[in-house]
Amino acid sequence: MPKNQEDKRYDTAKYGNMTNEELEEILRLDTEVGECEELDADEILCILDVLAEKDEACDDKTVQQAWGSFQQNYMPESKRKDVFLKGAHRSSRRWIALAVSIAIVICIPVVGGAVGWEPISRTIANWTKDFFSFSKIEEEDPVTAYKFETDNPGLQQLYDTVVAGGVTDPVVPMWLPEGYELTRISRQNIKDTIRIAAAFEKENEKIVISYRISAEMMSGRYEKSDVPVEEFEVNGVSYYIFKNKEKTVAAWAAGKVECSMSGELAAETMHQIVESIYRSE
């Protein structure tokens, strides 16, 4: 026979003063007693009701107490409710600013080139440990004071071939180490792209000079050894010297021309050859 409502309220008051742990312990002991149960079903339900009521009432109060304790003991400044939120916003603004900056840096050369800002789209040299290449070539005004003069007939022939390909920029060296003679010169073209290469030989040693003349900038990828690339400037043009096995390579871009020289030479000798491009009488 179930107990009446008065009894139930009494039980609630009795258990209402106990802590959750005490109530849970009572229930646990009841399950361990076995057949000799001390609590009937109604009383168990009463305890469960009390526990449920305590849980509902506890949430808000306990959270507030915990937050208050946290503020007092661990984060006095957190009384400013917006401090964490502001910190989060600050951090995200930094990332957004960084992303925008990177996007601008990347987009300026692209957009600049698209709208014709040629001075912005300078030649960009790229290299890894395996390859060297150019990305873009800047249009340059013809050098009016340039005069080509050389004692090497092969270099003169190379110069004539390059000029016939429409190149007016100084790109042909006027000097090679003594003894190097022209043994091969090749010219091939497809549409607006012209390729010229010349081989100079001295006692089985070769120097190959190559030009890639392309309005569309069909950029070459150069084989290189895993050693640093040396960069230096002559007459406003950047030259890059690196190794390809035992060969020393010099590569540079001038106007719409991509140029390279390769030979078993010391870096200093390659420097001299490069500087002879601008040598005048």
């Binding site: 090749s186 497809i190 081989a199 069909m218 084989e223 390279s260």
Partner: protein, 145 residues
Amino acid sequence: MKVRTRWMNLFLAVCLLAVIPVQAAAAVEPRDSSYFMSHAVHLEKTSDSAFQIWFDVDAVDIMDELGASTIHVYRSADGDSWTKVRTFNKANYLNMTSENAILHFDYVTYTGAWSGYYYRASITFYASLNGSSGQVTRNTKIIRM
């Protein structure tokens, strides 16, 4: 279940360890060349259904043979999944290489391209000198017909 998980973990670990030497070898493999100075590739659309594959290579010396040994053409509907649709070989296309050369610059033409599809090419450059040879492979950009 725990034993099975352990064996799976061990199997995965062994697989990962086996990959490391391969990757390391690939990473330290020299990419300089005794044959090539530079190379370039290019795709040039010539009509709605055709494009040219340009290949350009120069060498560090006068080579017995210089040029492209094979050119594979790939097609894709979405730009992600590719199917090889044609191969050009130097045996069948005499303009792919030249003899006694320091420079080789030419092209082959692919016809019958499908409208709206993506295409790219993989060119293997080849050079031989005194009985030895070298190769390097370059991939072109992707074009959409």
